[in-house]
Symmetry: C2
Subunit: 131 residues, 2 copies
């Protein structure tokens, strides 16, 4: 991997971790910072309909943060690909929220901006965990 | 939109329709043709775990086609974006399979190849339909 590609890869990895960090801290300002503040962004939470536009997306985070006391993610099977100014990440979110354990495969798309990589799309879906 | 961009947009729209066409016809050869035949492809069916690699992905289609007598998709809320050699589509799959009605928000990623746009990632998730 060329040095530039490796540098982009690390930046995207950090943007992805920052997104989950904002989610764990239930930090709306950091969550807004993680996203592209545009109408074209898309978000699907596990079992939810497709949300479109930064307003709908941020409203959903506000509702989720309000209804979440604590949540921790362990990310497994993380793969990152970068092509020019777009990057896509897939990972499985191993979720611990109080007594609740779950896993969600997720697709995250990012676009490169002057200010860094911004989330363009987050799609997470429910997957039944076998104990 | 410049003529080249419009041309790419139409090609991606066709690749997306061809993917759902292969699904409706339960045509494994056409489904294989729709995908990038590589280890890095990813697929999440509604309620399934993350599948990786063309072998796992095609095995899943074989199993799904074997267990599906008839299926029709109406695609709504379709958005398509192209940036260089990568394109992403989101749509809601309105599904009719016999007496079964469902809807699934889906994210589809495509890469441009000499032979056309090939699917790199398909992520569809369950969404409860209100009748």
């Amino acid at each position: 991997m060329a040095e530039d590609a490796w540098s982009s890869y690390k930046e995207v990895a950090k943007a992805n971790r920052d997104f989950y960090g904002a989610f764990e801290r239930r930090d709306l300002a950091a969550m807004l910072e993680a996203w592209l503040p545009e109408e074209r962004v898309k978000c699907v939470h596990p079992g939810w309909a497709l949300l479109q536009g930064i307003d709908q997306v941020m409203d959903s985070w506000e509702a989720i943060f309000r209804n979440t006391e604590s949540i921790r993610f362990e990310l497994v099977d993380v793969t990152i690909e970068v092509l020019g100014d777009v990057a896509w990440v897939t990972n499985v979110e191993q979720i611990v929220a109080g007594d609740f354990r779950s896993a969600a495969p997720a697709t995250n798309l990012f676009l490169r901006r002057g200010s860094g990589w911004k989330m363009l799309l987050h799609h997470a879906s429910p997957f039944p965990v076998r104990d």
